[in-house]
Symmetry: C2
Subunit: 206 residues, 2 copies
């Protein structure tokens, strides 16, 4: 197993500890541009490094803020939309070279978007997740651990090819992602959590 | 580095060699259900194990067929749609336990959807890819290798946080994925290629 004390030294210890999330919102609507822009414009982004390209946006900083901003982006878009919306999120920490903008790590850890969007949103959300741990032979054991965390969180994990399916309200899912990333940070140098969230899919029978 | 000759033995040698792709289509349109169903219904799926759940569809079998079916699903949906469409694809091979339905590995390797959708489709496509190799300390070196393959294929790879951005016509991208998976199979026991494809995005300046 990798030793968390033995992190790469090409960046400062602080810099390599930055957490990132690359995410995209896919509203299944003719109004997709408006829905995406409205969501992004409402975010409080003071405490994350952020950048948007032609495929996605990236937030980087303390995990509290990265998760808070990703959660708010998804919930704002879903609340605006009412119809089918998918969000794709790649959380990553420990990638060699993920160094710049480490000043965001010294930010006040209080989430900035929580007051506007409290927990307990009741937004029924289906998700698939894949957890990838690198440079360790024990990667399958770590997957089992994060699936157990989902079970404990009441998210009803189910095995499927290449993913684990989970479900819960949107904020409960993001709370779980925070727990998962905390577990990963404790045990691993470099890891990725790939997530797809879906609300209001006509494929889900109520 | 992992030794491809030393694959797990919990499945038969044939079974562990199965390639899978879990994929979802996201048409940014009020007509999303019709666009997705029309695409899937046109596919020739005789040579892949296939299953659909509330988030995605899965194809499993020989890489030739899995890639051929994934390519056709995306191109059918994009051609039907004309507007913005995103496809998310998780290619995987070597996952311990990915054993069932190995009878598809003995299928004739001739792609079944190629006649209906020839290569050289001219469909300008933007993509982000992430390549994940497991149980090897050399995983970053393998990422560099697959990025070099993209450069050689003329797909203009660019570094970005957590992904590599590439571009080309849709079929050229899928040809590259075939090359990448062949390289990976030669050198690794278990790997994942995560792909997002985008056509007709208003964010891309022509």
């Amino acid at each position: 197993m990798s030793n968390p004390q033995n992190k790469p030294t090409s960046c400062s210890q602080g810099a390599i500890d930055i957490t990132g999330c690359r995410f995209s919102l896919y509203p299944m609507s003719d109004r997709f541009v408006e829905i995406i822009l409205n969501s992004i414009q409402r975010l409080q982004l003071e405490h994350v490094w952020h950048q948007t390209d032609h495929l996605s946006s990236v937030f980087r900083g303390r995990p509290e803020h990265v998760i808070d901003c990703a959660r708010a982006a998804f919930i704002y878009a879903a609340a605006n939309h009412k119809n089918h919306l998918v969000g794709e999120f790649t959380f990553s920490r420990g990638c060699p070279g993920d160094c710049d903008a480490d000043r965001y790590l010294s930010a006040d850890p209080t989430p900035q978007n929580l007051a506007a969007i409290p927990l307990g949103d009741g937004m029924k959300t289906a998700a698939k997740i894949s957890f990838y741990a690198f440079a360790t032979d024990d990667y399958m054991m770590h997957i089992q651990k994060v699936v157990q965390l989902a079970e404990t969180a009441g998210l009803h994990p189910q095995k499927a090819h290449y993913v684990t399916l989970i479900e819960g309200d949107a904020s409960a899912l993001f709370c779980y992602f925070a727990q998962l990333l905390a577990y990963a940070h404790q045990h691993l140098n470099h890891y990725v959590l790939q997530v797809t969230l879906s609300v209001n899919s006509p494929s889900i029978k109520e």
